[in-house]
């Protein structure tokens, strides 16, 4: 059993170190090179949040009842109607903490209902008619191609603010 953690010593988990050691223990001798930058672009909102349309990007994939490849699981980005809200998403191909939690409540990572409530409360103007899926890929080049797809979909859907929610 793991020892209790001293709250005074608590800090966030270093996933880059953790995954490097975890895969090294399985014989992987070339650690993954995570994307690294010293600065980031910045685009301030040009209108009140209450007038903005909000879109969501998930790393999870659409769930399919048959055994076919779930859209997104193949590595290609997808756009999907946000209503009706999906009652489940496919997460089995992703790295997440299966011992500590589960992904049965879609709102914990794809909060379309919570966003609809934010519309009703007047916090935001609307939710985009589609949400977008971008699979986690090792290739930065393929991710860049998916980013361009999402950019196009956001433009078509008139999205002002995007929440990107990696599982």
């Amino acid at each position: 059993m793991a020892a209790d953690v001293d709250p005074a010593a608590v800090t966030f988990v270093r996933y880059m170190d953790r995954s490097r050691d975890f895969y090294a223990a399985q014989g992987y001798d070339r650690p993954y090179r995570w994307a690294q930058h010293d600065d980031a672009p910045f685009r301030p909102l040009d209108r009140p949040l209450a007038e903005c349309r909000v879109g969501v990007v998930t790393t999870t994939s659409l769930h399919r009842e048959d055994d076919g490849d779930a859209p997104g699981a193949s590595g290609r980005a997808f756009a999907q109607a946000a209503t009706p809200h999906p009652s489940r998403m496919f997460t089995e191909h992703l790295e997440w903490d299966r011992d500590a939690t589960h992904t049965d409540d879609v709102e914990t990572f794809l909060p379309l209902r919570r966003l609809e409530e934010a519309v009703a409360a007047g916090t935001i103007g609307s939710v985009a008619e589609r949400f977008y899926g971008v699979p986690t890929l090792y290739s930065h080049r393929r991710t860049a191609r998916n980013a361009e797809l999402v950019e196009g979909w956001c433009r078509e859907d008139g999205v002002d603010v995007v929440l990107l929610i990696p599982l």
Partner: protein, 120 residues
């Protein structure tokens, strides 16, 4: 996902990353990051806890409007549990599972070799 946020922001859309892997997101550097210190899997709140989910989504939306510079991180106040054992258990490597991990790696390597041989 952080690379997608950077691309969208650079092409004119305001973005907020909502997540729980702080080191990875900040290593990549994103415009805005709403961080919740939870096990990977529920970055928008605990399963079934609508009030917490509303609070985290609200914090992410606030950040879209309130951030004044790139690479702004906001941490939500939520804790997963009192013990925090999940922090040490996830992807743990120790004397008790080292053999199991090595065996798992060897099996995967053997499968890859078999696939390559079959493709020839």
């Amino acid at each position: 996902m952080s690379l997608v946020a950077r691309h969208l922001e650079a092409t004119g859309t305001t973005t907020v990353v909502v997540g729980s892997a702080r080191d990875i997101v900040e290593h990549c550097a994103v415009p805005r990051f709403c961080f919740t210190d939870f096990p990977l899997g529920n970055p928008c709140g605990k399963p079934g806890d609508v009030a917490m989910q509303t609070a985290i989504v609200g914090a992410a939306l606030d950040l879209a409007e309130s951030a004044t510079a790139a690479m702004t991180t906001v941490q939500t106040p939520h804790r997963w549990d009192e013990r925090g054992a999940w922090r040490t258990n996830f992807m743990r490597v120790g004397p008790d599972n080292a053999d199991e991990l090595r065996r798992r790696g060897e099996e995967r390597l053997a499968r890859q070799r078999a696939r390559r041989a079959a493709d020839r």
